[in-house]
């Protein structure tokens, strides 16, 4: 049985090898055990509510198969994109160049450097074991964060954003980067991507081109990559769209990947039940649900069969109740798979 729970320090080695196995780079999962440990520590302080006032909370969840204790995925929420520094994106816009005299009208696409998304709730650090990509565990891992946000809404901004990895070729190079960023950063995409995860944003202020970029001047491959997610991220994109996320105008400054945006209070809200330990219902389990407990530091979310005993109570298989670490009467958040 799979569950999603807060990451712990002992997960670090497993996270490290998971990140290495990803087809696309996950830039917010540092490739160094020390930095990963720092990240997990901050996450634990965030779940406990003991992060320092100057420290923006960053939550890291992991997907575990509790039958094998195997760590199979990670997913994160940053409460404040940019984490106290500017959050850089390109904002895709159009200018209309119209000549009255020549009777022509052209729509000219322009990328503006933007910090508009700074300080929003950012879903990030999504990684999952390759063999689970097509399984329901994918949805469990991704959507469990929304259940957490629904329960702890006051910890987050109402606006939620997700940056999806942009197109890269097999060698890990990005056509958008090769056409644009490389001229200004004078380094490989992977190097810049790594720096962005670990350095202060001074190097972005120093190296980013500050003038608007005309899209028509980019290479064909770069234009094609604009706002298109990496093949490995299309499943995420579909899931998020189904959830109510919309494609925004903002693009990743390195790979041109898309940003999806949602307003938390406009998303479908989970149903709320009390856990009923005593089986009253005679009916067979009525389907598969994502069920989460209402704890902050002991948050658990599982994919399980469940039966509504009445409007307020939910029966769960004993295994699921154990996995969620709940007792009779515990409050639950529930959504359809």
């Amino acid at each position: 049985m799979w569950i999603v729970r807060p990451a712990r320090l002992e997960d670090v080695p497993a996270i490290e090898s998971l990140a290495e196995g990803q087809r696309a780079r996950v830039s917010t999962l540092p490739r160094s055990a020390d930095r990963l440990a720092e990240k997990v520590n901050l996450s634990m302080r965030s779940f406990n509510g003991t992060n320092a006032e100057s420290e923006m909370a960053r939550y890291l969840f992991v997907l575990e198969d509790i039958s094998t204790s195997e760590l199979l995925g990670t997913a994160g929420i940053d409460t404040c994109s940019g984490n106290g520094q500017p959050f850089y994106t390109y904002r895709r816009d159009e200018l209309i160049h119209a000549s009255h005299e020549l009777a022509v009208t052209t729509r000219v696409e322009v990328l503006y450097l933007s910090h508009e998304l700074t300080g929003q709730t950012l879903l990030c650090s999504f990684a999952i074991a390759e063999h689970l990509r097509q399984s329901p565990a994918f949805a469990l891992l991704s959507r469990s964060r929304l259940l957490f946000i629904a329960q702890w809404a006051h910890l987050f901004t109402d606006k939620l954003i997700v940056e999806l990895q942009g197109c890269q070729d097999d060698a890990g190079s990005s056509p958008f980067w090769d056409s644009l960023g490389r001229h200004f950063f004078d380094m490989e995409f992977a190097t810049a991507d790594t720096y962005s995860g670990i350095l202060s944003k001074t190097f972005l202020a120093e190296l980013m081109p500050s003038h608007p970029i005309y899209v028509t001047l980019l290479s064909d491959a770069a234009r094609a990559a604009l706002g298109r997610p990496h093949e490995a991220a299309t499943r995420s994109a579909k899931l998020l769209e189904k959830e109510g996320f919309e494609w925004g105008r903002h693009l990743d400054i390195f790979d041109g990947g898309p940003t999806l945006e949602a307003t938390a209070h406009d998303l479908e809200q989970p149903a709320r039940y009390q856990y009923s330990a005593s089986s009253k219902g005679s009916s067979a389990p009525s389907g598969q649900y994502l069920v989460a407990n209402d704890s902050r530091d002991q948050f658990r979310c599982a994919l399980t069969a469940a039966t509504a005993a009445d409007d307020e109570s939910l029966e769960l298989p004993a295994e699921a109740a154990a996995a969620l670490a709940i007792k009779d009467g515990a409050r639950l958040l529930v959504v359809d798979l």
């Binding site: 005299e101 052209t106 001229h183 190296l207 608007p212």
Partner: protein, 359 residues
């Protein structure tokens, strides 16, 4: 004899024939009779002082008196950008540098400017192919500076020339293909013709206004930025020898260089001298290669004339002219003329000081 004089309406057919033979590249001289007529008209009005000095456009013709026709034309616009908008790109430098990361990249950047507004332009230069040689090119091009020397108050402190940029035999400009075409959706030739006809509102409407990073334009376009068409190289060398410099301004369509000079630093102005005319009895047909000639202006405005004579005609304070030369210049003994070496190497100031040193 080759004489420089203001263009006249009667030169129209000669000019039109020259324009027809010039071909596509020379957009300052389009083969359009009406346009040429109006340019001559404007020049005639300018020399007649019937036009505001800032809007004046002076065209000079090279007349071959034996052939009885003009074979070349050159011009000065007293001011550009006052009754229209004058665009250039400024080639500037942006450095992306991070000491922390050890990165230091220079990114040339183009800014759309109107920096030449209110400056004087060397606006046209064309010499009939068949009449090249024997110093006619230098005479045609540089005679203008003798006009500038005596009537500097009509022009700006800074003079510039826009030189034709690189394009291939089909008139395809790599810079245009990389930049202009993506915004104008027309051929370089069309855009150039439109602006040549004074039609510039479409530039304000369609031109990208934000700075352009050169790196995004590709190697072929980058290579031609600030370079001249190979046919224009002699003109560039000539102007450089006169003290003109490339200072970062470019043509917005083909990225050809704008070269500029302060009037008082132009060699043919700085080194020009005044002399009094004396008449000589000889025919004045002695052979002197262009390097050993001086060009002489009569210092008049409406009846401006320039011709070239052997440098040996000079003394410390006089210039000897044959009767037909004095006639062509419209000067009499005792009149003041302005002169300067036709080419730099043996200009009259050198001649003079050399003469003084050795004498």
């Amino acid at each position: 004899m080759s004489t420089i004089r203001p263009i006249r309406m009667s030169d129209l057919e000669d000019l039109y024939e020259m324009a027809r033979s010039a071909g596509v590249g020379v957009t300052t001289l389009p083969a359009d009779r009406e346009l040429l007529r109006s340019r001559i008209e404007r020049s005639v009005e300018s020399f007649d002082r019937q036009i505001e000095p800032e809007l004046a456009s002076y065209l000079f013709a090279l007349e071959e008196t034996d052939a009885g026709r003009i074979v070349g034309v050159c011009g000065i616009d007293s001011r550009v950008g006052l009754d229209e908008v004058w665009y250039n790109y400024r080639l500037s430098n942006t450095v992306n540098s991070s000491r922390e990361l050890g990165v230091h990249v220079q990114n040339p950047t183009l800014y759309l400017t109107n920096d030449m507004t209110n400056s004087s332009e060397l606006c046209t230069l064309f010499l009939d192919e068949a009449w090249r040689g024997d110093g006619r090119g230098p005479l045609l091009s540089r005679s203008r500076f003798l006009f500038l020397a005596d009537f500097a108050e009509l022009f700006s402190e800074k003079i510039f020339a826009e030189l034709r940029g690189v394009s291939d035999q089909e008139g395809r400009s790599p810079f245009w293909e990389a930049l202009g075409r993506r915004f104008f959706n027309m051929d370089f030739y069309q855009a150039d013709m439109l602006t040549g006809r004074g039609n510039k509102a479409f530039i304000a409407e369609l031109m990208p206004k934000h700075p352009i990073y050169l790196a995004l334009l590709g190697a072929e376009a980058q290579d031609v930025v600030g370079k001249v068409h190979e046919n224009t190289r002699p003109a560039l060398r000539m102007l450089e020898a006169e003290g003109f410099n490339f200072n970062g301004l470019l043509d917005i369509f083909d990225a050809g260089p704008v070269i500029e000079a302060f009037t008082h630093t132009i060699r043919a102005i700085r080194d020009s001298r005044e002399r009094r005319v004396v008449l000589m009895s000889e025919s004045g047909n002695e052979a002197a290669p262009p390097e050993h000639r001086v060009m002489v202006s009569n210092r008049r405005f409406e009846d401006f004339r320039v011709l070239a004579v052997a440098a040996t005609r000079l003394t410390f304070d006089t210039l000897s002219l044959a009767a037909h030369e004095a006639d062509a210049l419209g000067v009499a003994p005792g009149d003041s003329v302005r002169l300067v070496g036709l080419k730099q190497a043996t200009g009259p100031s050198d001649e003079l000081s050399a003469g003084a040193n050795h004498g």
